[in-house]
């Protein structure tokens, strides 16, 4: 039986053989692999790109103190970007499931409509949730827009839920019972993480501090963005660090949200603030990649 890490290794090998750069997780907390610069910024512009990476994704509101068999504060996504999407992209995807030992002639696979939209990133796409014997194992999206910009080349984004796939293969009812490595369960590796972050996110995170941090990161991103158009050395202008500040804002927003500190009315406003920064970075990035003449 393949362990959690075997499955990750096999999927990475599969995509590496199909021309993907294997990246490592981004080192700033994100809610989804889509938010990493390797997706959010690389899908912009006319340059083809193929990348695969595992990204621990934090959803503070989904935490359950480690006692729910299916819900996690942090889960592991395998993110694949194929830009532009090849004509046989679905075949390639099905091949990846076969590569981890799923005999698709013995299982039921369906592509059910599920379009994706991220208001905070000004991004949306068209696609499916891929259902394997009734279990959603992958989100498949053809990006159409990112940072409010129509994409030149349409990338396919495949996001695998690695815990779900492993639970499926290992026939485990609880995510904590998954074998991560020989002799180590998922629970052994991650339980404390789930418990402590749930306590923090739901009970102990200091709302005032989080708001202050949000404002500081927002301010820093905005400062850089407003400096970009005036910069005389655009090719070396630090837009990537500006984007890191946006990611910080996004995670703080999610934490504040799970803490119950954002009312429905405020929500829309805060999403707009993050979106404004994300869109600003995307536009400046496109300009910078094109030589920096337009802004």
């Amino acid at each position: 039986m393949d362990t959690f890490q075997d499955i990750i290794r096999k999927l990475k090998a599969y995509w590496a053989e199909r021309g993907c750069i294997i990246q490592e997780p981004y080192d700033i907390e994100v809610g989804a692999g889509t938010m990493c610069p390797e997706t959010f910024l690389r899908v912009l512009g006319p340059k083809p790109y193929r990348v695969a990476y595992v990204q621990p994704s934090r959803r503070p509101a989904d935490g359950r103190y480690g006692d729910n068999p299916n819900r996690l504060y942090k889960h592991w996504q395998l993110q694949i970007i194929l830009k532009p999407s090849p004509a046989d992209v679905i075949e390639l995807y099905l091949g990846s499931l076969e590569a981890i030992g799923i005999d698709l002639t013995q299982h039921d696979i369906k592509f059910e409509e599920d379009n994706w939209e991220s208001p905070t990133l000004g991004a949306w796409g068209i696609g499916w949730q891929v259902m394997l014997d009734g279990l959603e194992v992958t989100q498949f999206t053809y990006f159409q827009q990112c940072g409010g910009i129509d994409l030149d080349l349409v990338p396919a984004e495949l996001t695998y839920g690695l815990e779900r796939l492993t639970g499926f293969l290992q026939v485990k009812d609880s995510v904590y019972d998954i074998t991560w490595a020989p002799g180590f369960s998922y629970g052994d590796v991650r339980f404390q993480d789930e418990l402590q972050f749930s306590v923090y996110n739901f009970e102990m995170a200091d709302v005032d501090t989080l708001w202050k941090l949000f404002a500081l990161h927002e301010q820093e991103a905005a400062r850089l963005l407003s400096a970009y158009p005036k910069s005389t050395e655009k090719p070396r202008f630090p837009l990537l660090p500006a984007y890191d500040q946006v990611l910080k804002c996004s995670n703080l927003f999610n934490t504040l949200d799970s803490r119950g500190a954002i009312s429905v009315t405020e929500r829309v406003g805060v999403i707009q603030r993050v979106r404004k920064l994300a869109v600003g970075v995307a536009q400046a990035w496109v300009d910078q990649q094109a030589g920096g003449g337009a802004q």
Binding site: Q106, D108, I109, W128, V264
Partner: protein, 638 residues
């Protein structure tokens, strides 16, 4: 010679619910070429077929007129040269040279090769994407192959980088990646590759398969349709779940199965929910039970979640959640759900609601703070009702909470008890009044707060309950809202109840403030309409209305002494006799009198006193039926 035609547009999986509309659109597009096509589809292919297409379009002839017969020879030669003939070949008609230019009809295959790319891209979908690049073609999902045949020949064209051909792929895992076909073998080859092209056949395969499983389903036609268009080779399987979950309410279990897993629910011999489900696979069999066990595991996890929410929600009673509604925004400009709840409760009281109705209004929105509704938003209201029942509220209260979003569509029933109807009315009215007050009024197809549905619900409840609250009062005198409701009243009677538009206009012209009363009048109007005297009388009423309008007459004194004996006095007597009688009884006698009156009596006479008197009598006659209907609105053949 005539030829069969086949077009298969091969795509990645199209959302099931868009397929029937797309096929209708494809069929319509082909009609523009004069092709009457049969269509069919699976999620991966939209198919049109036709028989007997001509190999060529008919030849065409055009008579070209040239110079006059007395024109210089040079001009005649020039004309002939232009037509590619000698001057001797020209004909003469009247004073002119002419030439009958014959154009051979184009080959059908060329016509199709030119037209099909445009036709394919004109198929309408609610949402489209591009995939070859920013300025590339748009379609619902990427087009990956195209089969286009006329007889044995490929109709050659290219679309989005795909060249038409005569190869088609089978089922993604059970079929060949590419199989050669001809028009004659097409469906057979698909079938051999585990693709059933006919939606009707797939539907039947699901139904027969379920029958063979020996289970009785809770009927669900919409789900059957979804699964028919979600699969290329559907096979139903039955699975079980732990009967312990049956302690959860059926509504919750069914929602999880139906909306989240697309499973059919199964009924036990008593019609209750059984601890089983039917899933429909997109493959041919599950010999090892892998798919069944996989689906069972997924469902168990979902039910575990639901049970967890159900139990944890019980720790805080609905009544203790009212204050929490202060943290739930109803609409930015309209405040929180707590404020809405207070308004709705006051409105229910105003409408004469008893303590049960007022309590239901107070608790109706509390389930918005429960975990179960956050997880299964489609169960709002239902969950509140179920919690109220569990927490000991009387039937009148919990049913009212349970039902208060009803009717959610025109087919949906209204709330089952009086309290529920009042709460539903008050909730919808509050939304409408508030949105109209702050200018959130639907325009065209934009109706983000579903105000049309809310208004339609109000109309349906008032009529079907029935409740005769005056609409103008309900609308709090807001003229825009009154006009909005008027539209919904018309829609209800025409489109839901099937009254003709002129009957609705006629009856509404006599008032529509009391909807049950309007409904009763409309029914009577519909009944008397086919009687022989009605339409002629209606035509006369229209004439009367015109006469009064032309005379700008709006009422005046009537003096019986000015009446002429004969038809005029006869009509007067008849009007008096019919006063206060139901219309059904009077039209038979009234009609001949009115006819004779217009035959013999001139209204606009010289004598101004007599003329005014006649106008006054006609005015009285119209007035007599004013509270029933304005007959001049009836469209008559005469």
């Amino acid at each position: 010679m005539s030829l069969p035609f086949l077009l298969e547009i091969g795509t990645e999986e199209i959302p099931d619910w868009m397929i029937p509309t797309a096929l209708a659109s494809l069929q319509h597009q082909l009609e523009s070429l004069g092709i009457t096509a049969r269509t069919d589809a699976t999620p991966r292919r939209l198919v049109a077929r036709a028989d007997n297409l001509p190999e060529r379009l008919p030849d065409t002839e055009e008579l070209v007129t040239g110079p006059r017969t007395n024109a210089p020879a040079k001009a005649v030669e020039g004309f002939a040269r232009k037509q590619g003939v000698a001057p001797a070949d020209l004909a003469v008609e009247g004073d002119y040279y002419t030439f009958l230019r014959k154009t051979p009809g184009r080959r059908m295959i060329d016509v199709l090769a030119e037209a099909l790319p445009g036709i394919i891209l004109k198929i309408t979908f609610p949402k489209t994407m591009y995939w070859t690049g920013k300025n590339g073609p748009r379609f619902i999902r990427p087009i990956r192959w195209i089969v286009a045949l006329l007889g044995d020949s490929v109709i050659p064209f290219e679309l989005a980088g795909v060249h038409s051909g005569k190869q088609t792929p089978g089922h993604r895992r059970l079929g060949a990646a590419s199989a050669p076909i001809s028009i004659a073998t097409y469906e057979r080859v698909l079938r051999a590759n585990f693709v059933i092209l006919s939606a009707a056949e797939r539907r039947r395969r699901i139904e027969d398969g379920i029958a063979a499983l020996g289970v009785r389903l809770k009927a669900d036609a919409a789900l059957l349709e979804t699964l028919t268009y979600l699969t290329e080779f559907p096979t139903p399987i039955v699975g079980d779940f732990d009967p312990q979950f049956l302690e959860l309410p059926e509504e919750v279990l069914i929602t999880v199965m139906r909306h989240h897993q697309k499973y059919f629910s199964v009924a036990d011999p008593n019609g209750h929910l059984a601890a089983r489900f039917v899933a429909v696979m997109n493959t041919n069999a599950d010999p090892q039970g892998l798919v069944r066990r996989g689906n069972e595991r997924v469902l168990r996890a979902r039910f575990d979640d639901a049970r967890f929410f159900w139990q944890s929600d019980q720790r805080k009673k609905l009544a203790d959640r009212v204050a929490d509604l202060a943290h739930v925004t109803f609409q930015a400009k309209l405040g929180t759900y707590l404020e809405k709840t207070e308004r709705v409760a006051a409105l229910v009281k105003e409408l004469g609601g008893d303590e049960n109705a007022i309590r239901a209004a107070l608790l109706a929105k509390c389930d918005l703070t429960t975990e179960l509704v956050k997880e299964f938003t489609e169960l709002q209201g239902v969950v509140g009702g179920l919690y109220a029942r569990t927490q000991g509220d009387p039937e009148a209260v919990w049913q009212a909470i349970y039902d208060h979003y009803k009717p959610e569509s025109m087919e949906d029933a209204i709330p089952r008890n009086h309290a529920g109807r009042l709460v539903s009315l008050a909730d919808k009215l509050d939304t409408l009044r508030g949105c109209f007050r702050v200018g959130l009024i639907p325009t065209g197809s934009r109706d983000p707060f579903a105000l049309r549905r809310a208004a339609q619900g109000i109309v349906k409840i008032l009529i079907e309950a029935p409740l005769n609250f005056p609409l103008v009062t309900l609308a709090a005198g807001d003229q825009q809202l009154i006009a909005f409701l008027e539209d919904r009243v018309k829609f209800y009677f025409r489109d839901i109840r099937g009254f003709s538009y002129d009957e609705v206009n006629a009856a509404m012209a006599a008032g529509w403030n009391d909807l049950p009363e309007l409904a009763a009048r409309l029914t009577r109007l519909q009944e008397i309409r086919p009687t022989p005297d009605f339409e002629p009388l209606a035509a006369s009423f229209k004439r009367i209305k015109n006469i009064l309008r032309q005379a700008a007459f709006t009422g005046g004194p009537f003096t019986p002494g000015l009446l002429e004996d004969g038809p005029e006095r006869d009509l007067f007597d008849e009007i008096n006799r019919s006063a206060g009688q139901p219309i059904e009884r009077v039209i038979g006698a009234l009609r001949p009198k009115v006819d004779l009156y217009f035959d013999k009596v001139l209204v606009n006479v010289q004598d101004q006193a007599v003329r005014a008197n006649r106008l006054a009598m006609l005015h009285d006659l119209l007035e007599q039926f004013r509270t029933f209907a304005d007959f001049s609105e009836i469209v008559t053949n005469s």
